[in-house]
Symmetry: C2
DNA sequence: CTCCTAAATGCGAATGATTATCATTTACAA
DNA sequence: TTGTAAATGATAATCATTCGCATTTAGGAG
């Protein structure tokens, strides 16, 4: 009797994969990554489990970047930077949504979450362009 | 010689439609709305012109809600509330992204825009549920 | 006025991410 | 063993969005 039942190997692998990367990946990115270890994994399984994790609040969706949904295994609220050039997503540590803000919103309804995202060109893409 | 050339009537109508509603509509919503006045308008024209406006910075995209892209004719930065029940989008006046925040982000790259969105259940949906 | 070109449009097909379907496999307990 | 419910793989279906192309339009040059 294993701690990790074979039945959930892939499910666990999906969550672990998402949690151990900083790229804020898409479903397909996770799928491609896991194919190395699980050659028979199905893309549908990745989508299904991501939806399940999301429902349960175990992961978070960042919304779509270029029409593709991106996920984050870190559910602690934090700020993101999305690069319009490379579609990369970065965590912005040291930036936080002011606590007061969230409280001011009560006029509209019950707030369950909040997302602050900056968009622009990341340093890596800026450098790449200068070099070119 | 008319001020509004016939050639651009539909284009103008799309922009006007978007600017004169508070619902932060989808392309299809605008299409359905404009069909009343322009029975022969094509959904592709709505998409094409929205893309054009977006490129030129004349409108703004809020990203997707339930897989459908939503637009805002108000390009002045402001905060949104998205209802998970009815998929409605509200402007949150009186809430603003602190100026300092945007400046702190320079470590990641050149910021061109920023978006703050609260998610939850709007008052209307809360009331609806209580009544039911 | 006529001819020409570039832009705008309508229509319908194509695309592509996501979801649904369904048969099969798995875990686990009676 | 056997039954049941969940998980999965493969693939078809869905549906918002985009593309291709023929047609229409505006507006200028001749």
């Amino acid at each position: 009797m294993e701690a990790t039942a074979k039945h959930f190997r892939k499910r666990d692998a999906i969550l672990t994969c998402l949690r151990s990367t900083k790229v804020h990946p898409s479903a397909d990115w996770i799928y491609e990554k896991l194919k190395a270890e699980y050659s028979d994994i199905s893309l549908a399984t990745v989508y299904r489990n991501l939806a399940r994790f999301k429902e349960r609040g175990e992961i978070v969706s960042l919304g779509t970047v270029n029409g593709i949904e991106r996920f984050d295994g870190n559910t602690k609220p934090h700020v993101h930077f999305i690069c319009t050039d490379c579609s990369g997503v970065l965590d912005l540590h040291g930036v936080a949504v002011p606590e007061e803000l969230s409280k001011t919103v009560s006029g509209a309804g019950q707030v369950s979450s909040c997302q602050l995202t900056f968009t622009g060109k990341c340093n890596q893409c800026i450098n790449k362009e200068e070099t070119a």
